[in-house]
Symmetry: C2
């Protein structure tokens, strides 16, 4: 019997879960501060919901698609949380702006490797209804605060606008269909500049165009000065102007937080549906790819709703953040239990008292374990110690006769005694909830 999960799928032990829950609830709290509310959608959608939304590679190679054995209809596991949100929005038509967050799993049939899984968690925030830079700026501000709250310091948000690229490519290089060019540039991190050149040649660009294009995207730009220069360079190009104006407004709203943002013409994002600003959060100290990414997609919802709704969003990669935080020493997986108190029964007679103390502690909100296996004092002690449970309460003959309880504090090695009726107060002073 194969006991391991399918390749690319994972089990999480309590030690992993304790960290995951902390990271996820930190993100969630930040999302709530910015006025986003939770929704949930099924893990399965009708195939047609996904069809034509992500590009060919995703649809033919990466999606978990299967035929429902009963209805003979095609279903697929969700590939991201953005498309299900677009469907949800179109069905429910909530009042605008619709600001939702959604934290959940998605599935992609990638080659499993370090930091890349087939089942992984995304934490998404999206705003539907506003075409204005305020909505984008709010998401970037939220992202910066989320990163800081998680403990990251040395990160940068790479920012671009697809209209700027499109404008330059059209005017300078006379390119009409830029989606394929975006896909080639999106691989830059993985395949480098030479790799991107090869890809561009493959889609039919001549050598001169390839070189010019590479020159444009490889330049460093200052977030405030250079992006204005670009408008001067292409004074009559509406796309460049619209893109740059939008980015400038975003940066103005960010105030002092703009120090986390750089302008990068080589950032395009892989998915087809983006229409304006796009961004990614990169950690400077380690090579782990982006930990979050997003952008504006003003035309996606129309495919479901029939009418056009501007929308913008960002998706945090939960495992990327966790893996990065561990690597940087910010997150530790030391705790393997939430249990705060273990009650040792030294004799079978003590068990009744242990049960009654456990009940009282639990009623007071403490996380408590008692012996369920009729083990010796030593075995119980070993278990509590191995699990790293911070407090141990010992109940034996002496405790039964004197009604005084002995408490052992693992971290300091301290032993204290408490009268039975004062126990709760003594523990409340030691365990802050």
């Amino acid at each position: 019997m194969r006991l391991k999960p399918p390749s690319g799928f994972r089990d999480f032990e309590p030690r992993d879960m304790i960290l995951r829950k902390r990271v996820i609830s930190t993100l969630e709290n930040i999302f709530l501060r910015y006025g986003f509310d939770p929704i949930e959608t099924p893990v399965i959608e009708h195939w047609e919901v996904f069809e034509g939304k992500y590009g060919e590679e995703a649809e033919t190679k990466l999606m978990y698609r299967f035929k429902d054995p009963w209805s003979d209809k095609w279903f697929a596991l969700r590939f991201d949380l953005t498309v299900p949100m677009a469907r949800f929005f179109s069905l429910k038509r909530p009042s605008l702006p619709f600001k939702r967050y959604h934290i959940g799993r998605v599935w992609r049939h990638e080659r499993p490797q370090k930091g890349r899984y087939r089942e992984f968690w995304q934490a998404d925030v999206d705003t539907v209804g506003s075409p204005y830079p305020e909505a984008d700026a709010e998401l970037l501000d939220l992202s910066i605060n989320a990163m800081l709250k998680l403990g990251f310091r040395n990160f940068v948000i790479k920012l671009n606008d697809r209209r700027v690229l499109k404008g330059i490519f059209e005017e300078e290089l006379a390119l009409s269909n830029v989606i394929e060019v975006y896909r080639a540039i999106d691989k830059l991190d993985k395949i480098g500049y030479e790799g991107v050149k090869t890809e561009l040649r493959k889609i039919g660009l001549n050598e001169e165009t390839v070189n010019k294009l590479l020159e444009i995207i490889s330049k460093e730009y200052d977030v405030e000065k250079n992006i204005i220069d670009l408008v001067d360079q292409f004074p009559k190009n509406k796309n460049v102007r619209d893109g740059i104006n939008h980015l400038s407004s975003i940066i103005e709203y960010l105030g002092s937080n703009k120090k986390y943002v750089t302008f990068s013409l080589n950032l395009v994002r892989g998915l087809d549906y983006y229409t304006g600003p796009v961004w990614e959060i990169i950690l400077k100290d380690i090579q782990i790819g982006s930990v979050a990414g997003g952008g504006r997609y003003d035309n996606l919802i129309e495919k479901y709703a029939g009418a056009s709704y501007p929308a913008t969003g960002i998706s945090f990669g939960v495992e990327r953040l966790i893996d990065a935080g561990k690597q940087l020493g910010l997150f530790k997986t030391e705790k393997s239990t939430f249990t705060e108190i273990y009650i040792i029964s030294m004799t079978p007679k003590a068990y009744k008292m242990a049960w009654s103390i456990a009940r009282e502690l639990r009623d007071n909100g403490f996380f408590v374990q008692i012996d369920l296996m009729r083990r010796s004092e030593r075995k119980q002690r070993e278990y509590a110690s191995k699990k790293g449970i911070p407090l141990t309460i010992i109940i034996g003959e002496k405790e039964l006769s004197t009604n005084e309880i002995t408490i052992y504090l693992r971290e300091t090695g301290e032993r204290i005694t408490a009268k039975r009726k004062e126990l709760i107060n003594v523990l409340k002073a030691r365990i802050k909830k």
Copy 2:
């Protein structure tokens, strides 16, 4: 384009999610009080993990099974959380007792109807390693406290032990294979006594046996007196004795909580893997089926681990609890947002101040929305009111010049003024976090 999720699958709006999150976190807090820790497993498992565990109907008709298009292997969506836990335990071999909780979705291809979905949430707690009634009693004690904490009062835990039934059936009715008989009895709630009779005839029992069997299971038993009588009735039957002794111990541990328990010979549970005590929680005031159920399964883990590990658990049906709580008026879905404060910008000039106040409030932990759509004061007010956001802060020319902020309290209609620098303290007094 079909915008609705597949049949039996559901979307959850913020208003649903706010209630769901409350119910789930209440359960989770109770699980932690009893020393259970969280784990997570993939939604997909190799088919062989499930094969032969749930009985024929489940495997042939109810499970979402599909062939992985890449590996040509058979996979299935998980049908419950118990079997994945057994696999997880056998792979990881954590120290004993292994006490885990797991709250997540499972999939069953049932006929969708009121209160019955194809994708639904279970909240499971299980203890591996203890064959003793302490472990079962702890789960029942936990269940009673969970129900009370959720607000339910008029409920009963139906308790039985499969060994008691097996002993009686063997001695009185000379039945050897009782699994089919259990399945027939399990349908009692759905098909009634006459229906069960028909099922029993179908599997070959003669009329006399059918009648005797029905007489046995339809009797009312008192949780303390009658179960002891049963031992006197079958003095030499080891199964009856073992079962009754185990149940008696459970009831003794429960102390005053035993008032929530009844002894029911007609409770068997549908799944094949139970070996000892079984239980279900029933609400007395409404017809909704059981809201939780579980029991002891001492032989399941052996199928994965090779060695035998006693185990016992309970599974709460999250949607059943929510549907029941709504029907009984315990749960309300009035709130459609977590947002606490909406900041209205009366003029475009006020927006900058709104943004800076929003930042300060968010840094102080408040959940805040500001205008992202450049709407009129009236439209902003309508939005805040429709969402039911409790506090509105208004910023206009007056506020800009005097640095005094107006706060409007939706519930009481009150209007208060606060100096800019005292705003946080004024709000902290109004919004308890």
